[in-house]
Amino acid sequence: MDLAQGFLHLLSPGPLGLLLLGTFLGIVVGALPGLTGGALLALSLPFTYRMTSVDGVILMTSMYVGGISGGLITATLMRIPGEPSAVVTTLDGFPMARGGRPGRALGLGISASLIGGAISWVALVTLSPAMARLALVFGPFENFALVLMALVLIATLSEGSVIKGLLAGLFGMLVSFPGIDETSGQQRLTFGFAEMAGGFSTLAVILGAFAISQVLADAMHAGQRFERLDPSLRGIFLGPRDYARQAFNIVRSAAIGVWIGILPGVGASISSIVSYSTAKNMSKTPEKFGTGFDDGIVAAETANNANTGGALIPMITLGIPGSPAASILLAALLMHNIQPGPTLFSNSPEVVSALMATHLAAHVAMYAMMIAGCLLIARLMYIPRAYVLPIVIVLCAIGALAENGRMFDLWTMLAFGVIGFGLELASVPLGPFVIGLILAPLAEGQLRAGLMASDGSLRPLLDRPVAFSFLVVSIAMFAWPLLRQWRRRRRGAVTT
């Protein structure tokens, strides 16, 4: 009932205007490399303070949805992810666009975003209360085992060399270590530099490794123009056969996106990386991934939008945001003294229904805007790189500075731009690097909190059924690609 009212409310001019404005701004900021949806939300926070709580929620939720979706544009057309969550979209989106099918690449990404978002909306509406209860069961050991399941994907994600993948993953972990050691409150690996007490900003590192390094690579042949291969946008609308073929991939990727969304503090980038590597692992034709393959784009873009619905579930039911962007949405609610929790549904039903209605409506608005703007957007590809690259650098610098207002983050970004460029040259995969970077602190924090609770014993990992089953799955997932490689090698040895 309330939900119907939420949708009806969105049809009145004021809220509709906020919805369209928020979605549009989100898409634009999402598409611009460097500027993230999270930064847009943070900048809008003071404005929502003066609005009613419902209006604030409508504006911020639509920005959140638009921001996650817009990232695919630049990822597909320029191989520069507009958002960290679109990092793996570059892997298949760009080759397909370069191969002369930009319309098809964008169409796949935009449609997958809509469907992923819609599936996560269903989860948000139907599962929220149940999920809130289920999440309470999850203690430090369960959370650790759950994070471990994603962490072991480092081994499977490494295209080519497993050793290089593991090295990249370990390097990512190392980069996450400096700063305050959470479980002692003391500084570590700061080498006496006061600025290092804050550690390396994850955003600055990702901007550097993915955007700045790409700028450096492109600058090598800045004068080169892409020949116009396909001015029409054939294939932007997917046919029923496409949907039928992708159905399983979509459902699986959405489930991964929602689930990782629920995990606190993980964010959309990990969900698309996990979903992409799972799709590749389970595929009969894993070698097609990375060459402009439909399944890769669909897996990545379904998952990162599905993450939005997932991230909102613990935010409204427990007050624990599932992603960094959701934490700013939470801040907006808290400033109106709307305390999330099991009682939110009875105390502020209008806020809950506005949030849920906007989540779906913003996805529809996003789809309409991006499909309509496709023809214009696709021209981006043909702008000479020499004009684009300086703009990208400036935007990235603004993005890195805007997060915390620190010059240190800017230097971090530039340094990791050079490091990322070097890693690319040495064909060290960057996916495992991001996984290590984002997940290692979570795994460490949860494990050490668990050990503090158990007085140093690891037994709960084996005793607690949920934690134990995740542990078994993690081990299986870690062993699987190694086993497959070993079997392939043995078969190879037999035939030769």
Binding site: Y49, G185, G319, N337, G405
Partner: protein, 315 residues
């Protein structure tokens, strides 16, 4: 006019201009650094004052969340800022805990202490299913030393437990669950046994029947929640609270510090600020000047001794 006269005249002119500028404070937008992420109480208390300060000072007021290093990054940024009154820090006892743990190589003495605007009393909260549902029975159970307290090691919620332990002789086993939100969830899920939360943080899960507030460490009961017992009534005479403090770089001219403090005090009369504080169960409590400095240094000394007795300082 000879050369000496010219110099004298221009010197006089400069002095006058400086004086005029001093009077004109603030002559550009003011940046308020909050060293905590958006959404925490330290953040929203600063934001309550944003609009009234703009009106009272006649300049734009921007809030920047400079997060990291247990608030040390933001604190340091303000300490090193130009001491012209246009950079202000809004942070509670987190500044003292960071200094006590030697995460920063400076403490409250490195700042001009502007004002305190409010104080927020905290409460000990347990799971509704726990066998102890009053403060005395909880403390009895805690004497075993086996009760798990959800805290963020080195942060204020850790020190609150150390204070309680110091007062009652009880030791807790600390589990690093983090800030208010995640700690509240760990408590509701039974992964820890007790936590210090603000009334506002605890309320939704108290209403839902998951948690019980055992005692509020305030001098008297809250008007907004009259059946919430204080610790004092239950035999533990201890007051524990967060103090919302404002700071400027050490060398900021006294008249500018006073001008800003006065704006904060006037801002407390703003109807919206009053409403917000009441709605959040935060008590207005204005302090400045010598009184404020005495209070901060008293708390800082007490905290350092507490850390030493409990062996939480590594440095």
């Amino acid at each position: 006019m000879n050369r000496r006269q010219v110099i004298a005249a221009s010197l006089a002119a400069t002095t006058l201009a400086t004086a005029a500028r001093a009077q004109a404070y603030p002559d550009k937008p003011i940046r308020i650094v909050v060293p905590n992420p958006p959404g925490g109480s330290a953040d929203y208390v600063a934001r309550f004052f944003q609009v009234p300060l703009q009106r009272l000072l006649g300049q734009g007021v921007a809030i920047a969340n400079v997060v990291g290093g247990g608030t040390s990054i933001g604190n340091r940024q303000v300490r090193d800022a130009a001491p012209d009154g246009h950079t202000v820090l809004a942070v509670h006892q987190a500044l003292l805990t960071a200094a006590t743990l030697k995460v920063m190589d400076f403490g409250p003495e490195a700042f001009a202490q502007v004002a305190q605007v409010a104080t927020e009393y905290v409460a000990v909260v347990v799971n509704r299913k726990a066998p102890y549902q009053t403060l005395p029975s909880f403390l009895d159970a805690a004497r075993s030393g086996e009760l798990k307290a959800g805290v963020q090691i080195g942060a204020i919620n850790h020190f609150l437990f150390l204070s309680l332990g110091d007062k009652t002789g009880v030791k807790f086993r600390f589990v690093n669950t983090g800030g208010g939100g995640p700690t509240r969830t760990a408590l509701a899920g039974g992964h820890v046994d007790c936590a210090f939360l603000t009334v506002n943080e605890a309320k939704p899960l108290v209403d839902s029947g998951d948690l019980t507030i055992l005692a509020l460490f305030a001098p008297q009961r809250l008007a907004s929640w009259p059946n919430l017992a204080t610790a004092r009534e239950q035999g533990t005479d201890l007051l524990l609270n967060l103090n919302y403090w404002w700071w400027m770089p050490r060398a900021t001219p006294r008249d500018r510090v006073d001008r800003f403090a006065e704006a904060l005090r006037a801002g407390m009369d703003d109807a919206e600020v009053k409403n917000k504080l009441a709605e959040f169960n935060i008590v207005p409590a204005f302090l400045k000047g010598a009184e404020l400095e005495a209070e901060i240094s008293r708390q800082y000394e007490a905290m350092k001794q507490l850390a030493q007795r409990n062996n939480v300082t590594a440095g």
